[in-house]
């Protein structure tokens, strides 16, 4: 190693040391989750704590599906999340296009209405929203879990900004060629805002998959629980009535996390793009 390279390494060493320490602080809890999930079911914690199991046991991942309807929870989460993501992309993209690209009477005031509702916290609307869904007889149904979240003012806002960046010429050229508004939208504009669509999809996915409060109100029946809710019920019921089965709950946590991690690995830049956009535009 040359002298210069050595000096460079020495200068960056403290930075890397700090980063490694912080990285460990972020990662050890995940490591703890995975290793605990591989301890025999019902293991209580020893002191001093063993990070790694003495006997490796994959039984929790089997028990998950035999002791609780965890497979049903997964299916529910997949259905609810998939429909919500598709719905949000479809509803919000078309609305955003309407607001950004078509001019019609009332468009501005309706858009301001959308923005205004973003300022009312969910806690204010959650009670009447529940009563409406209850009135529709949608408690314990997929509709009840999906429909209230199938459109989002935030997503419309984000997509509208994306549509606004596209030059007018695209629209005019296609119109002169005789394309209908729908064709212009589908064939020309949607492909141009793919990154923004991906951001909306990723946010909808994460928000829906990880959501607890709404499923908590709607999925009263065990068979309608999502993964998040199922996991929360493991937690709440076990702490009140019996010693919690931590290895089993850790296994459930790992399974609930896998889809999110997978999506994150594939779509990392859309997470970051969406967050930066919300910050900078704010």
């Amino acid at each position: 190693m040359s002298r210069k390279a050595l000096l460079g390494a020495l200068r960056t060493a403290p930075t890397y040391a700090i980063l490694a320490l912080l990285g460990a602080f972020m990662l050890v809890p995940f490591l703890w989750m995975v290793t605990t999930s591989l301890k025999p079911s019902g293991t209580t914690f020893s002191y001093p704590p063993d990070i790694f199991p003495t006997t490796w046991d994959f039984g929790n991942y089997v028990n998950l599906f035999t002791l609780a309807p965890f497979g049903k929870y997964l299916l529910n989460s997949v259905v609810v999340t998939a429909v919500t993501v598709l719905g949000q992309v479809a509803f919000c993209a078309s609305a955003a296009y309407g607001f950004a690209r078509l001019s019609f009477a009332g468009s501005k005031s309706v858009f301001v209405l959308f923005l205004a509702t973003m300022m009312i916290p969910f806690q204010v609307t959650m009670i009447p929203l529940f009563l409406i869904v209850f009135r529709f007889n949608w408690v314990n149904t997929y509709q009840g879990l999906i429909v209230p979240g199938i459109s989002s003012a935030f997503a419309i806002f984000l997509l509208r900004q994306a549509f606004l960046t596209i030059p007018r010429d695209y629209q005019d050229a296609a119109r002169i060629d005789g394309a209908s508004e729908w064709t212009v939208f589908f064939r020309i504009f949607l492909p141009l805002v793919k990154p923004a669509l991906a951001t909306v999809a990723v946010f909808a996915f994460m928000g829906t998959w990880n959501d607890l409060l709404w499923p908590l109100l709607i999925a009263r029946d065990e068979n309608m629980r999502t993964v998040e809710l199922g996991l929360a019920y493991f937690n709440v019921t076990s702490s009140a009535y019996q010693q919690p089965n931590w290895p089993l709950m850790m296994a459930a946590s790992v399974v609930s996390l896998l889809p999110v991690v997978l999506v994150y690995i594939c779509a990392q830049r859309y997470f970051v793009a969406g967050i930066s956009l919300s910050g900078v535009k704010g």
Partner: protein, 315 residues
């Protein structure tokens, strides 16, 4: 996530119509068709609930039938004034916000400055710091309840190794809120880090060079050049952080259930209990509106404070 809308409403030039009248009428109809599904959804699942919630707050509503909800005027709001547990929860909420916002912002800014350096492997560290953000609160709670266990947790073991006194963490009414703030910082720092990063990357390098030529050390450069330039980001994070802090619910629901001894009973958890455990939905709605009013006032106060400091161009 919330976005302040005021600055963002960009004006779109109206399209110049060829064949004015007919074209415009057609485009009117098409425009409404495009926004119809989302607008109908907004009306039914956002506007109606908002109005309905106001209505509820003036009624005594405690049975699943809509017809048996007598009008009680301001009674809900009046009895709320003397409701000590509610104000206790409001105080806990403010305490949580006052702790979590500055701690979270300082930690996430430090992370952002660290990973903003042009060194190898920074992308890996960014990804690692972002991992807790994508993890659900329920999984986070399962992990941290065990890590913070007073007699068998990894954290207390670490404390023992460092010759620090062991803590009761979530079991101690005086420490539970602080423990939740720490967990929240771990969970959300990566999110704010990304926002800080966007701000940091907009700082022109020439300014740093100029400061360094003037003899400013790294620390003074950061304090006197970088931080003032980050003001828009800081303001954004404070305002959205305070709003988010006042609306905190999930960690209290999954980690402490408001305990021990009500030490982590925050406003939304309290409202949730009133509405969905005791079914006093009218009273709970009144509480929700009071919470909203408090958040709104606190936000206005912050904006006023920022304007008074002469940074009106930022809000």
């Amino acid at each position: 996530m919330s976005v302040s809308p005021a600055g963002a409403v960009l004006d779109v030039p109206a399209p110049r119509g060829d064949r004015p009248a007919r074209r415009r009428r057609r485009s009117e109809r098409v425009g409404w068709l495009f926004i119809l599904p989302a607008t109908a959804h907004l009306a039914l699942f956002a506007l109606v609930p908002i109005i309905f919630s106001l209505y509820l707050s003036f009624h005594e509503w405690s049975s699943p039938s809509f017809l048996s909800a007598p009008f009680v005027g301001l009674d809900n709001y009046r009895s709320l004034l003397g409701d000590d547990p509610f104000w206790h929860a409001m105080w806990n909420t403010a305490y949580y916000t006052l702790l979590s916002v500055p701690i979270g912002m300082a930690v996430s800014l430090a992370l952002a400055v660290l990973v903003n350096q042009k060194l190898r492997g920074m992308n890996v560290f960014r990804a690692i710091f972002f991992m807790p953000v994508i993890t659900s609160w329920v999984a986070v709670s399962v992990i941290w309840i065990t890590l913070l266990s007073p007699d068998a947790g990894l954290v207390n073991y670490l404390f023992e190794l460092l010759h620090l006194p062991k803590q009761s963490w979530l079991d101690d009414p005086n420490a539970a809120m602080f423990a939740i703030v720490l967990i929240n910082t771990w969970k959300t720092a990566g999110f704010s880090m990304v926002i800080w990063l966007a701000g940091l990357q907009a700082v022109p390098p020439e300014l740093m060079e100029a400061a360094s030529i003037d003899g400013a050390g790294k620390w003074r450069q950061f304090w006197h050049v970088t931080l003032p330039l980050l003001a828009p980001t800081t303001i954004f994070l404070v305002i959205t952080g305070v709003i988010g802090g006042f609306q905190v619910f999930t960690p209290m629901y999954v980690i402490t259930e408001g305990g021990p001894l009500g030490a982590t009973d925050v406003a939304v958890y309290h409202i949730y209990q009133r509405a969905f455990q005791e079914f006093s939905m009218g009273y709970a709605s009144a509480q929700a509106w009071v919470l909203f009013a408090v958040i709104f006032l606190v936000t206005l106060l912050q904006l006023w404070f920022i304007r008074r400091r002469g940074e009106s161009n930022l809000v």
